[in-house]
């Protein structure tokens, strides 16, 4: 067994850390306060190659692996969750479907600008009345004289409405299968499609700098060749996408928790009460110890899933475990980090206040804690 990262993985983590410290952290508070999408940081991340991390060079990527990508997301989340989800959603949800299921022509047309970070792309699965139960897709697409005609609504779609968004890939019901269930397919919908509209950005509790919108389709028409992969395979395709996405969401949770721990440790050493540093109180020490134990545990689980994916092995089980556990421990960690800050932790200028708000979605997005438990229950045979 070998716990060492490769020199490239170490170098990429180091670069992500320097970038997060030097560029992201100084802007995090202001971006959150102003709900301002990080266009400048997105452009810088693009220039450094972050958006193409796990994709091969022939498609505009840098040929890195899942482990490096997860470490990069973790380091950026340590400074700011909004910037980290912008990257993670762009890579795992926006670009990955093209890489995994696109034809060569679709990869050249759509994946290349995404891997270069010149464009962002949304992945539209959730609907106002179909979240955990995403297969209950109400959005319909019918084939009519060489075009898909789409009607329906998608909810909570990340990166779907920025100035540099090229479009969204959506799941839609395209018919009825022979077993009577609905047939789901993935359809590529470019931004300029007539009949396709985006709402304003939601006002959110956390991830306030990231872009999340509702999408509506009213007889929106795209050419027939805008089908992604095979007709009727939309359901298995999005399950595959979500399996991989869980590694980056786990990385995001671990990074956020690390960021909160860093702040709490620093604050505990600075703050004095009863004439002593609060870090000398055992009650505070135990909190900090419990935080780092949980973080390291979640990080190992996340890296194990990433490693399995890099080895070409089945990683779905460990990715689910890591996503669930990292989401839940990040909740406990940010809670304790605010507690250690006392009243200051409730004040917005202190990063832990933002981290506390940013954390909650980690237990909801890309499969709630409950859904994660349902998936794992099936995997352990119950």
């Amino acid at each position: 067994m070998d716990f060492d990262l490769t020199p490239e993985q170490r170098a990429i983590q180091q670069l992500a850390r320097e970038f997060a410290e030097g560029e992201v952290r100084p802007k995090a508070e202001e971006m959150d306060r102003e709900e301002r999408f990080p266009y400048d940081l997105t452009a810088k991340m693009a220039e450094l190659g972050f958006f193409g991390l796990p994709f091969p060079e022939e498609y505009g990527g840098v040929g890195g692996d899942t482990t490096s990508y997860a470490l990069a997301v973790m380091e950026i989340a340590r400074a700011d969750a909004s910037t980290a989800i912008t990257l993670a959603a762009a890579v795992s949800l926006g670009a990955m479907p093209f890489y995994l299921f696109g034809t060569k022509a679709q990869k050249e047309r759509y994946l290349v600008p995404l891997a270069q970070g010149k464009q962002l792309w949304g992945f539209g699965l959730t609907e106002p009345e179909a979240g955990s139960d995403a297969a209950n897709c109400k959005t319909r697409a019918r084939l009519e004289s060489g075009s898909w005609v789409i009607n329906g609504t998608k909810a909570f779609i990340t990166n779907s409405g920025t100035d540099i968004t090229g479009g969204t890939t959506i799941t839609a019901a395209t018919g009825t299968r022979s077993d009577g269930k609905i047939e789901i397919s993935n359809i590529i919908v470019p931004q300029e499609t007539p009949g396709f509209a985006r709402s304003r950005k939601y006002r959110k509790m956390g991830w306030r700098a990231s872009d999340t919108r509702e999408l509506s389709f009213a007889d929106a028409k795209v050419p027939e060749d805008h089908l992604l992969g095979v007709r009727g395979e939309g359901f298995t395709q999005f399950l595959t996408i979500l399996d991989g996405g869980r590694i980056s969401v786990a990385a995001l949770s671990v990074g956020l928790a690390l960021g909160a721990y860093d702040e709490a440790l620093k604050y505990a050493k600075e703050r004095r009460a009863f004439g002593k540093s609060i870090s000398s109180f055992q009650a505070i020490q135990f909190k900090l110890v419990d935080m780092i134990v949980q973080i390291d545990h979640a990080k190992l689980m996340m890296l194990k899933a990433a490693w399995e994916k890099d080895q070409g092995r089945d990683f779905a089980y460990n990715a689910s475990l890591a996503k669930l556990y990292a989401g839940e421990i990040s909740h406990r960690v940010v809670n304790d980090a605010v507690q250690i800050h006392g009243g200051y932790g409730f004040i917005d200028e202190y990063p832990v206040s933002r981290m506390y708000r940013d954390q909650k979605i980690n237990e909801i997005g890309e499969g709630t804690n409950e859904v994660q438990r349902m998936i794992i229950a099936r995997m352990i045979g119950i």
Binding site: A11, I12, Q14, G49, L53, V62
Partner: protein, 258 residues
């Protein structure tokens, strides 16, 4: 055109440093080694020149270091240097300024160059003497403390920082310059750069490869002492911000610091 950047590998800036009392040398094991931060500015200056000069310009790193540390140079290769040479020989351990500069000069002759760029200082040794001494050994014009560089035909133009402004100077190539931090913040290594760096070569030269043998340092370190412990800070207690600020201001003015 070939630009050679000299790079020292130094202990992590944040690491607790320790000197071995018997050898009187800095203990370099058990801690992370990093690129001398001043040399990152030298590399940045070289990469800026390379970008202007075009593709037939190459940037080679030259480092005198233990061979076991040579992988540290990958970061500089990831930033954009083309290749690296490590001058590594047990006989070079513990070199002083004279010996280091003589050895590097010898290695530079072997490698070949049009321009040598050095950082102004090494974070650990802090002599700042090596760049000038290399220029002397090679009989090169040496432009130290440069804040801006430009190659014009077969010459280099530099702005040298001085206490009272800067001087514009020029000299024919080949030449040696040392740079200040004003050349521009060292760039991030790109991810493509990191992935590409593993394919770049780090060659090794020994003392005998460059005809540099049987030399000994000319200076001897007699003793060393840790910096004096900081005196206790004076804490100003005040009822409000303005009174506190006033007390600090008076304190500084008494000592003619403001």
């Amino acid at each position: 055109m070939r630009i050679v950047v000299t790079v020292k590998l130094v202990p992590d800036l944040n690491a607790e440093k320790r000197i071995d009392p018997t050898t009187k040398r800095l203990v370099r094991t058990g801690m992370e080694t990093v690129l001398n931060p001043y040399d990152e500015y030298a590399l940045e200056a070289a990469l800026q020149l390379k970008a202007k000069q075009g593709d037939d310009t190459t940037v080679t790193l030259l480092s005198m270091a233990s061979e076991s540390l040579k992988e540290t140079l990958r970061k500089a290769l990831a930033m954009g240097a083309d290749d690296a040479v490590v001058l590594s020989d047990d006989a070079l351990a513990g070199s002083d300024v004279a010996m280091t500069s003589a050895a590097l000069a010898q290695a530079l002759k072997k490698i070949g160059f049009d321009l040598v760029i050095c950082g102004g200082l090494a974070d650990d040794g802090s002599t700042g003497g090596v760049p000038g001494a290399i220029a002397e050994h090679l009989g090169l014009p040496g432009l130290t403390n440069a804040r801006h560089l430009e190659i014009v035909g077969g010459t280099i133009k530099a702005q040298r920082e001085t206490d009272s402004g800067y001087q514009a100077v020029t000299c024919p190539l080949p030449a040696l310059v040392s740079v200040t931090m004003a050349v521009g913040e060292p760039r991030y290594a790109s991810l493509k750069g990191i992935m590409g760096a593993k394919k770049k070569t780090i060659a090794t030269l020994s003392g005998s490869d460059i005809g540099f043998e049987n030399r000994a340092p000319k200076t001897e370190l007699l003793s060393f002492a840790p910096p004096p412990a900081r005196t206790k800070a004076r804490i100003v207690e005040a009822s409000d911000g303005a009174t506190g600020a006033r007390a600090i201001f008076d304190f500084l003015r008494e000592r003619k610091l403001v």
